[in-house]
Symmetry: C2
Subunit: 474 residues, 2 copies
């Protein structure tokens, strides 16, 4: 009898090994030291292995935990306050963003992280200005954090239409140094579950000099740059006016497109530009729900993939999406691309599931350790309850229908259990290490002040949502 | 003290009265004799009214129950067996549809209806060949049924490409008579909660003679015709070849476009054709998820609305959608149209919510009795739990964010309670009148036989999903 930490018994494993979904049945998964130790014949596993713990998941399918590769969790404090409007930043978010303090953002992060974990996310690609509290919370609940701190050099002020951003090198330097300090404090913490990435906000928000300095620092530390790339016509305008090139061409000439880069959005990139990024070895993250709501655009993720690139999924932020639920993003990326190409065979369910797991892991440089259930990888997995109405009935012959139903039918509450590094962090509706009522209560404390402080600018700017309030439409 | 049946206390009511969302606060809803008796000041209601029952919904928003205006619930027995393929009918559904008997379809219906109710649907627009068991189940659980029995005259056989369907008048007559008999048995049953509509399958599947006979019978009975209209290039081809006109032009000339008609899909209709239907007074139902998956198309529902028509939402069927969750359809109709028109202001959340409630009720001719919470209407309502992470935080000033979060963030499990005719039918995860385990068990009994019986044709036809099985992608 070999001693191991855990045996995971389930009738269906979607390991995501190989180029499909790596289906296995009649096996049990072995976990030891936080890693997957392999699979054993389920009929013999109890005779061959003595486990500290056995997870009996008799009505479940087991899969790798989902990767939400791009999130601004702090903005969950402003969920639902910005959508259905042109110029989302100005007419939607600004009146609120201006008055939300750091502790409110941290409370928002805790809610969004709980929300994401409840729907099967185990790796959180969070991205904001001040990430210490997020790191601490991810450590506390036992999840995996792929955390980026934002670096920006352009002064925060109102710019006239057509005006170039004004850089403040001292501000940029400070942000960069704060990112380095966060890296030193957190990278590799929580048994390696926390990794810190460098987050230049976008090509238009930093000088070339600072961008290259960040790149050098990231490469020296063997970490990644996580950057918004060609995320809108605003960025395209700024880069064209400043340098005479479109953003991706300029980044390419600057030597910024390579496998250190994780490129987010590509909202304003055409298919050829997406292919340029893909061929450079950079990863891509697409945020279908967010960009759909904010811009009415389907970014060129399939062109990126067709050029050989790996693309993950992100939920972005709650004002303008408005949720952190990777199952929703899987359905959206599949449907939006079917619609974009007028072809129901575009982006099938299994491909969307790969984006949420192994392809996402490759896109962000973590495929050596997560994204599939294979021997030697970290034991990050979820169990989906197949007795929920949305997953029923279950067929195994002549075809299996579990993956299409997970992608197109599941709501999120089918996820019954999540584990990271072989440790169960979520079960039966509860994130185990936190009291959800406390998370909610903390969040709600900030609401009256934010509402009051935003009121004057909300009515002064008088965006779409102000009009909706006046007309009784909210 | 006035005696009434029920007081519903909640901090937020979205009544959907007027042209917005009809928001009320500081009121309580009065229910008597299955109807809404009005609203009272929440501070004085207990002094003024003595109620048999008080629903205390202190953390909830109360709205009209959702209307799922077009469903084929029986096909839930085949959930997830047909998607991601061209020629959905042939390459996806056919191998399974051919071998599913009526009792299996009835079991599928029970599951789909439970699934829909769990996500807030109170009115079920179900549509199939044999609807007695569906009517009985809807009656049993206390929901509202807007039930259509299908009438078809075209022989069921394989047609060569380009071949016109062959009509079998005796078969059409039998189906029509069975529909009349269903009407006599069920219309007005369950205290009027069940209504029976006439369901010619589509303009291409019936002769003009039978279509007009059905129309006459529907008008005499003051019920509706619920018909697939210009639902694909197959229909367009058949009608053009037979009559030399496109389907909507032909139906218009035949006098079929009027307020007796509920026109579903319009997949292959252009904006002008949609406007023709709208101006005729016919209602429309759009099924965004289903048509997105099956065809990669966004039907012209906004053009229909712009021409003054009322359009409701439908979940269609589980093989090819794959869920019965109107919240998912609200998000899809909003996002798909933003993408179609490259405009984030297209189809805001409140408009999608109106489609699921009052506009849907108008589209199907039930707005005198349901779709909004107004005095004199039936007391069909749902309570949404605002303490779920997806609905948090809740702002009321300077703007309310509840509607955008319900449409864009909610998963379905936020619906904590549903009532129809003032009677609670769903609460805290349970459809009260049935044992969900029994519903699931009944369904699962049919799975082995269907899988076995479909196997030969599944592999012979060898569609996309057969290929996916061979390649380990399912």
């Amino acid at each position: 009898m070999k001693k191991i930490d855990m045996i995971v018994k389930a009738p269906h494993f979607f390991t995501m090994a190989g180029d499909g979904v790596g289906y296995q049945t009649g096996t049990a998964m072995l976990v030891n030291g936080g890693k997957i130790a392999g699979f054993a014949d389920s009929a013999r596993v109890d005779a061959e292995y003595a486990a500290e713990e056995t997870l009996l998941l008799e009505r479940h399918a087991v899969l790798p935990g989902f990767i939400d590769a791009h999130m601004h969790t702090g903005l969950a404090i402003a969920r639902g306050l910005a959508q259905d409007t042109n110029n989302w930043m100005m007419y939607g978010l600004q009146p609120f963003d201006n008055v939300i303090g750091q502790s409110a953002r941290d409370a928002g992060s805790r809610l969004a992280i709980v929300e994401a974990v409840r729907a099967g996310t185990t790796t959180l690609g969070d991205y904001e200005h001040q990430m210490d509290e997020v790191c601490a919370f991810i450590k506390k609940i036992g999840a995996r954090g792929h955390v980026t701190q934002l670096i920006r050099e352009a002064k925060r002020r109102v710019y006239d239409p057509g005006e170039l951003y004004e850089y403040d090198p001292a501000m940029g330097e400070t942000a960069f140094n704060r990112c380095l300090a966060l890296y030193d404090r957190w990278h590799g913490e929580a048994d390696g579950r926390i990794r810190i990435l460098f987050g230049p906000q976008g090509a238009d928000f930093l000088s070339l000099e600072l961008l290259l300095k960040i790149q050098k620092a990231a490469k020296e530390r063997k970490t990644k740059i996580h950057m918004h790339v060609q995320q809108g016509d605003r960025e395209t305008y700024q880069i064209e006016k400043r340098y005479g090139k479109r953003p991706i061409a300029w980044l390419s000439d600057a030597g910024y497109l390579d496998d250190t880069l994780i490129a987010v959005h590509l909202t304003d990139a055409n298919d050829d530009e997406a292919a340029v990024v893909a061929r450079s070895g950079a990863g891509m993250i697409v945020c279908p729900g967010s960009i759909g709501i904010i811009d009415g655009v389907v970014p060129p993720s399939t062109a990126f993939q067709d050029a050989g690139g790996n693309c993950g999924l992100g939920s972005d932020q709650a004002p303008g999406n408005n949720c952190h639920n990777i199952i929703s993003e899987m359905k959206s990326v599949a449907l939006f691309n079917k619609i974009k190409y007028k072809n129901p065979e575009t982006m099938p369910a299994w491909r969307a599931l790969r984006m949420a797991t192994i392809e996402g892991a490759r896109a962000i440089g973590l495929s050596e350790s997560i994204g599939s259930l294979e021997e030697g990888k970290r034991a990050d997995f979820i169990a989906v309850d197949l007795k929920k109405p949305t997953m029923l009935p279950v067929y195994t012959a002549p075809m299996r229908n579990i993956v299409p139903n997970l992608v197109y039918s599941a709501r999120g509450d089918e996820v019954a259990l999540s584990a990271v590094d072989g440790r169960v962090i979520y079960r039966d509706g509860r994130v185990l290490a936190v009291d959800e009522e406390t998370v909610i209560g903390d969040l709600e404390n900030f609401v009256p002040d934010i509402g009051r402080d935003a009121t004057e600018e909300f009515w002064r700017i008088h965006g779409t949502n102000a009009e909706f309030m006046e007309k009784g439409r909210l």
